[in-house]
Amino acid sequence: METAIPYTVKPHPVTGIPNGKFGIWLFLASEVMLFGALFSSYVLIRTAAPHWPYDGGLSSETLNVPLGTFNTAVLITSSITMVLAWASCKMGDISKFRLWMAATIGLSLVFLVVKYFEYADKFHHEHFPSHDNFYGIYFVLTGLHGVHIVGGVIVNTFLLTVGTRLWKTDPEHFTNRVENAGLYWHFVDLVWIFLFPSLYLL
């Protein structure tokens, strides 16, 4: 096909990798800049603040550490299930792929539900992003991260359902798509690995 995207399976002669993988890494580089800018803002705002949190006490008293720890474990587990979903494709087992991908999506939704309860509790006490910089930073950082989780859920759900059609015609191409989705997903996990201690523990 003349209009087919080239190098979806065969490595590109210049980069040595398929185009999709190169593309997703470039995208992740831009994501590093996005979250990096927010992290540096957090550092600047926090070091200039008279108290942190502004209302007094500690971050670990204001934010729910057990829930945050649970969510960290949930995301880490979703990362291994994502790897296993890709590994199942590499080993030619499409039903195992469905199992592990469904697990990944399920765990992502658990993460979002926990975040919903955390946010609801804050809103119930009238602690909105506008309350002060502590809450502003907390909601923007975790909110943006949450939006990224939703994006990942959408892509992973596509791969689990409609997208699996590609497995029948070009299994290697499909496997590469799963790998690329995995790279994005691990990055989302990576961001949380830094977010959790920065916001909840320190």
Partner: protein
């Protein structure tokens, strides 16, 4: 072609199974390091030390996710180049705000 130890492109399903062990090992390590991070936070270390320890543990976890789950440990040079450039610019973005708090060389009249 750069064939490395973890180049799984041309492996059979049976050969690929060998890699699963290291993925499970990293998973267990990540959970353990999470427990350590939370445990250390209860020690109520002084601020600079608490930040240093937390960031070191987070970096180790990040290294495991990036190196093993994201296959970075055996990636092609072009990806390393992209990430090196990203790291440099990220460092710049992180340090940029500090330039706004430096003293000016010359004060304007009346200020």
């Amino acid at each position: 072609m750069d064939a490395t130890a973890a180049d799984t492109h041309h492996e059979s399903p049976e050969e690929f199974k060998k890699h699963l062990g290291k993925y499970y090992a990293v998973f267990v390590a990540l959970l353990g390091l999470t427990a350590i991070t939370v445990g250390v936070s209860y020690l109520k270390l002084n601020r600079p030390l608490a930040i240093t320890v937390a960031l070191i543990i987070a970096s180790v976890k990040a290294g495991l996710v990036a190196g093993v789950f994201m296959h970075l440990i055996s990636e092609k040079k072009v990806i390393y180049a992209v990430l090196l450039l990203t790291a440099l610019f990220f460092l710049l973005v992180l340090l940029l705000p500090s330039f706004t708090t430096l003293e000016p060389h010359h004060s304007l009249p009346g200020t």
